[in-house]
């Protein structure tokens, strides 16, 4: 066997790949479920916090800033581990899946709140004044005038964060979540062959490349001529 053949046999071993394909695919399903849950709940919670913060209630804002700073500074893995191994001492014992979901959703919430907030505050005061002077209420102004402009500014940093945090689903392996990486690494140890890891890598590309492309498309769609 030549070097090239040995390389292919080791990293892209057809027999091993065929055998573990179903496992990887089930991992893909789990990763997609996790990722969707994290993105939807994390972004929704982040936007909700930013909107609450825009009301300008002092004590509430201190609380929001504290929560946001906390979850921005803790490593996601620490949050997952604390939730999975620590929370049961306080009562609830979430599964590995739920721990990973909630932990990463909280992290995404924290980062996206900051991004949404920066977007909202970057809109000039004159936009508020013009809208309010024609009789639109606070919330009508927020939803019709401010947020559409703020979203446009937030899309690039938001997609970067969202993708980075969703890739953190791989951290679920430490709490026995059978997502792509979990499936791939147990397949590697069972087969003594790294091919499943290559399949896992391919699965991540297949999953996340469309997200990156979609993000670019949304960015272009939201851009308007200045």
């Amino acid at each position: 066997m030549g070097g090239w053949d040995r390389f292919v046999d080791t990293f892209f071993n057809a027999k091993v790949m065929e055998k573990y394909l179903p496992d990887i695919l089930s991992g893909v399903v789990v990763t997609i479920e996790l990722a969707l849950l994290i993105v939807v709940s994390g972004l929704a919670a982040g936007l909700a916090l930013a909107l609450l913060r825009s009301l300008g209630v002092r004590p509430l804002n201190w609380l929001i800033v504290f929560v946001v700073d906390l979850f921005r500074s803790l490593p996601p893995l620490v949050i997952i581990v604390l939730m999975y191994f620590g929370l049961p001492y306080a009562g609830p014992s979430p599964s590995g899946f739920v721990s990973t979901w909630l932990s990463l959703a909280l992290v995404l919430m924290a980062f996206s709140e900051e991004i949404f907030w920066a977007g909202i505050t970057s809109i000039p005061r004159g936009q508020w004044e013009a809208s309010r002077s024609t009789g639109l209420s606070y919330s009508q102004t927020l939803f019709n005038v401010i947020l559409p402009q703020a979203f446009r500014l937030t899309i690039p940093p938001l997609t970067n964060r969202t993708i980075a945090i969703t890739k953190g689903t791989a951290l679920g392996t430490v709490v026995a979540v059978t997502e792509i990486l979990g499936q791939a690494s147990s397949a590697v140890s069972n087969s003594y062959n790294p091919s499943p890891l290559m399949m896992g890598a391919a699965a991540y590309i297949v999953l996340f490349l469309p997200v990156v492309v979609a993000a670019r498309w949304i960015e272009a769609k939201f851009a308007w001529k200045r």
Binding site: A130, R132, G135, N144, R152, W224
Partner: protein, 247 residues
């Protein structure tokens, strides 16, 4: 009272923290009157205008517009503001909407018009400011003068009883000022009540009914344009007018 006052502001005080910006201003404006407000930078002209539609909350005093007590907590302020158009120095058009979208927003959300009704009214308003053919342009595709005229259309589409202008031409290149003043003149001819903060003395001379000179949070004097410009009673007015005319 021969003619009804459409705007009655009495004893307006405004503090920004330690800063006492309006120190008891009374302003009455009759229906169809065009009142010009002039005065040095920082004298409180913008703040006074913004107290009239309650963009700024006066610290004390009363503001009646078209019979509505603007400062009463019982007043539906969003409803009341429809009667008071406001045009800003920096246009403040919504950059993510077309000219038509800018004009229809409040018609739909506040006046409760259907999309079709709102668009018909908006097209008429754009026609009045000479921009019927720019309805589908976004602010970024319009010149400053055109943007300001769209902003005027956004206000007049709501059929306000009074219009406030805060330095509507000061952000414009000189060659674009004329088109905006032209629109303001035609508004005046249609009988709109207008309160204008501006240093366009030429326009004040031949369009204003009354010129109000403010300094340091107070109205120093007021009267017909000729009287204020030619024979001001106060030294401060004279100094300010001299300064403006030297430019």
């Amino acid at each position: 009272m021969s003619q009804k006052h459409i705007v009655e502001a009495r004893g307006i005080h405004k503090h920004f923290g330690p800063l006492h910006v309006l120190k008891g201003v009374d302003l009455e404006v009759k229906e169809r009157e065009l009142v010009f407000i002039i005065g040095p930078s920082g004298s409180g002209k913008s703040t006074l205008l913004r107290c009239l539609n309650r963009l700024e909350e006066p610290t004390s005093g009363s503001v009646m517009v078209d019979g509505i007590d603007m400062l009463s907590p019982k007043t539906d302020i969003n409803h009341a503001r429809q009667r008071i158009g406001m045009v800003f120095q920096s246009f403040n058009l919504y950059p993510h909407m077309t000219a038509l979208g800018n004009v229809t927003l409040a018609l739909r959300k506040v006046a409760g018009k259907s999309r079709a009704e709102a668009e018909a009214i908006a097209r008429q308003a754009l026609e009045r400011v000479g921009l019927a053919d720019r309805a589908d342009h976004t602010p970024g595709q319009l010149s400053g003068g055109q943007q300001q005229r769209v902003a005027i259309a956004r206000s007049i589409a709501l059929e306000p009883r009074v219009m406030l202008f805060d330095e509507p031409t000061s952000a414009l290149d000189p060659e674009l000022v004329g088109s905006v003043l032209e629109v303001m003149r035609s508004l005046r001819e249609s009988g709109m009540t207008m309160i204008v903060v501006s240093h366009e003395m030429g326009f004040a001379r031949n369009a204003a009914d009354r010129v109000v000179f403010m300094d340091n949070g107070l109205i120093v004097e007021q009267g017909p344009p000729a009287a204020i410009f030619e024979t001001p009673a106060h030294e401060r007015t004279r100094a300010f007018i001299g300064q403006i005319q030297r430019h």
